[in-house]
């Protein structure tokens, strides 16, 4: 990626330090100036238009949207323009100017991303650790009492148990159904339509899906007409209707079904691409060797896509650890269905205890940490 146009003459370490500091200073100045200019223009625009057309709510929303996006674009434009004016790429000092500009420009491009990611993801991790040692409002030092509370808390234990259940069942079931769906739909003419339909729940929100499935699980007392599909089938087969989402322990599985239903399409799409990426020759060789379609699938195809299966599995695992909306919307953690993410939300908004809530959040973070470490390792390996 050496697009640099200059040879770095050997410089003493002192001058190098000076030039690094200069670069940093110029970078920050140009960024700040670019940001200030674009925000100023956006705010001025807002004030002006608001003055001309006061009290229009819809217009207001649209205006804020447009200006927000424009300010963002304006930053990039303005900061680059500024840098080019500061170090023009022509004239007597072309080479020196280019070197200086090239040292600053990547940071102009990266600046907003680094700041936003730092503020919204990196800072919270640190702050959460700090909060977990503090009391409900986050002001008084609480030592390790939050952790001690957590170790003894029944709700937490229930959440961990359920989370582990989710972690075992959902990724496995999703990958399994996804693999089956991928393998089958690839063999038939209307496979693409089938794929689209199985994939569709991906677009539905967890809350929307919860409404949909709550309707399936709807319960009417025995003897009256069942309007929930599941109970209608059960009574149709001669069983007794059940209030499914209140049946202890098993209700967890009825909640998991919702997530499996949503995510199978994702697994299917990715696994289907992987299956199609398998060299046709290996399959043809197996056909000539006399393998049956099932043997080809389990002994030839699946082993060749293990890496992709692992990716699907981890992706869904991460998702499962964060699952919240489904539990909140279906049971709100009642009847023994609590999970960590919802439990944390509970302590945050109903318990109003930031210390405890942060401690639970840290537990979730701890559970994804191995996956995170693995991702970093893979990326570093890949870019070398």
């Amino acid at each position: 990626m050496a697009l640099s146009q200059t040879s770095a003459a050997p410089v003493a370490s002192e001058t190098r330090l000076v030039s690094t500091l200069t670069t940093a200073f110029v970078t920050l100045t140009v960024m700040a100036a670019g940001l200030a200019a674009s925000v100023a223009v956006a705010v001025a625009g807002y004030v002006l238009i608001d003055f001309v057309f006061p009290d229009s709510k819809l217009l207001d929303a649209a205006l804020v949207m447009v200006l927000g996006v424009a300010a963002c674009f304006g930053y990039f434009w303005a900061s680059n323009k500024l840098l080019d004016t500061l170090y023009p790429a022509s004239g007597a000092h072309v080479a020196a100017n280019l070197t200086k500009a090239n040292a600053v420009r990547p940071w102009l491009f990266l600046g907003p991303a680094v700041i936003v990611v730092g503020l919204y993801l990196a800072y919270p991790v640190v702050n959460s650790i700090w909060l977990s040692f503090h009391g409900p409002s986050g002001e008084t030092w609480a030592g390790t009492s939050n952790y001690e509370w957590l170790a003894r808390d029944g709700g937490f234990r229930e959440s961990v148990r359920n989370n582990i259940l989710w972690l075992i069942v959902v990724p496995a079931a999703t990958t399994f159904f996804g693999l089956i769906a991928a393998a089958l739909t690839d063999r038939i003419a209307w496979g693409n339509i089938a794929k689209s339909l199985i994939f569709m729940p991906m677009a539905i929100s967890f809350v929307g899906a919860s409404v949909i499935w709550k309707f399936i699980y709807d319960y009417r007392p025995a003897g009256s007409e069942q309007i929930g599909l599941l109970n209608a089938i059960v009574t149709g087969l001669g069983g007794d209707p059940q209030a499914w989402i209140t049946v202890p322990f098993w209700n967890n599985f009825f909640l998991m079904v919702v997530l499996i239903w949503i995510q199978t399409g994702f697994a299917m799409v990715i696994l289907s691409a992987a299956l199609r990426g398998i060299p046709e020759e290996t399959i043809e060789a197996a056909v000539i060797d006399g393998a049956s379609p099932f043997q080809i699938f389990y002994k030839i195809k699946v082993p060749q896509i293990w890496a992709t299966i692992a990716v699907v599995w981890t992706t869904i695992t991460i998702l499962v650890l964060k699952v919240f909306d489904i539990v909140l919307a279906m049971t709100n953690g009642q009847w023994g269905t609590q999970v960590l993410a919802n439990y944390m939300f509970d302590w945050m908004f109903r318990g109003l205890d930031f210390g405890r809530a942060s401690t639970i959040a840290l537990v979730i973070m701890l559970m994804v940490a191995p996956i995170m470490a693995w991702n970093i390792y893979e990326t570093k390996k890949g870019t070398k």
Binding site: A2, Q5, T6, S7, S90, A95, L98
Partner: protein, 362 residues
């Protein structure tokens, strides 16, 4: 006008040096081809001229200006890439106009120059098309057109024909030769690993190997008077045959001993080489079958390749590090295992010392 001058050009990636001090002067208006096996540094050298790679050490001049620190766009060069590097989302016209638009040239000038270039390259009917709607040859012409439009002092070609199929390659090669003819004042530097392109296009060929220049010279000079074994074996196909020999007599002409036979060559040799081990080089096309069995060496026929116009015969010869290849005109028949004797005119033979240097260049 402007040639290119390189003084002790070096390139290192970290601690590894890949170009070891190149000194080369390219005259204005010359067509120079860099040739060498892959990894020899020829493309790196070209990219250093273009400014796409930084120069670790040494001085590079285009015209009178030292360009080491000048960005590519201000060096007065244009480059044609192996993959054409057309902008896939722009029409042929926009592809050719891109550089001038960046430079904010007036509209009429852009229009005129693009149309002129399109005319030269017979691209006028395709100006509105996207690159994906063009054939490989047409794409290559667009890439060349993009270079012409820039009106550069130096044209740089980086293996421009290697993505084309055989027939198109010949046609485009001729086209490039014609292009050069129509622009006698432009300097062109052309990188290839294909010796046919090098031989047919170049005013001068620069043979590179492992980051060093092996020989610079006109095509026929390289063929007839290779400076070393590497150049000798690189130019010509099949490669030059090499056989071990000992010098018996030095002086105005040299006598060598091939074990069973002796040969007297019109190559001068200094006295200290008397009795030294040397390599005798003979091109396959310079070998003939000696019908009476009294040739330069005898060998056993191993493989016969009949190509119709020529027949290549591979002989196992005692002491020869590799099979000796004889390239004979027309269709010839040999039995496998047959012993044949081959001969060559003394003036067509080459002698190289222990280090592979030609005795002509000592």
């Amino acid at each position: 006008m402007s040639g290119v001058l390189m003084k002790n050009i070096r390139k290192s990636y970290g601690a590894t040096e890949v170009i070891h001090g190149i000194d080369l002067e390219i005259e204005s208006g010359e067509f120079v081809v860099f040739v060498g096996p892959s990894g020899c540094g020829k493309s790196t050298l070209l990219r250093m001229i273009a400014g796409l790679e930084s120069i670790s050490d040494g001085d590079m001049y285009i015209g009178a200006e030292r360009v080491n620190d000048i960005p590519p766009s201000q060096r007065g060069i244009a480059m044609v890439f192996q993959s054409y590097a057309l902008y896939p989302h722009m029409s042929v016209f926009d592809n050719m106009a891109f550089g001038m638009r960046i430079a904010k040239r007036p509209r009429e000038e852009i229009d005129r120059r693009v149309k002129e270039a399109a005319e030269i390259l017979r691209l006028t009917p395709y100006l509105d098309r996207l690159p994906k709607a063009l054939s490989g040859g047409q794409r290559q012409r667009v890439a060349i057109g993009r270079a012409i439009v820039r009106n550069p002092k130096v044209f740089l070609f980086d293996e421009p024909l290697s993505n084309l199929d055989a027939a198109l390659r010949v046609a485009t090669r001729i086209e490039i030769a014609k292009l050069k003819e129509s622009m006698p004042n432009s300097t062109m530097i052309y990188v290839t690993h294909d010796q046919v392109e090098a031989m047919t296009l170049a005013d001068r060929i620069v043979v590179l190997s492992a980051g060093r220049i092996e020989q610079v010279g006109a095509p026929i000079e390289l063929y007839e008077r290779p400076a070393n074994l590497f150049v000798a074996q690189f130019i010509g196909s099949p490669a030059m045959n090499v056989q071990r020999a000992k010098i018996e007599k030095t002086g105005e002409s040299t006598t060598i001993n091939l074990g069973k036979r002796k040969a007297d060559l019109p190559i001068p040799s200094p006295g200290q080489l008397a009795g030294a081990d040397v390599h005798l080089g003979v091109r396959p096309e310079d070998l003939t079958i000696a019908s009476n069995g009294g040739g330069l060496m005898d060998g056993r026929v191993n493989i016969v390749e009949s190509l119709g116009e020529v027949t290549n015969v591979y002989l196992d010869v005692e002491n020869a590090p590799q099979p000796i290849v004889v390239k004979l005109p027309g269709v010839q028949r040999f039995a496998r295992g047959e012993i044949v004797s081959v001969a060559a005119q003394p003036s067509k033979m080459h002698l190289f010392n222990e280090n592979g240097r030609s005795l002509l260049y000592l």
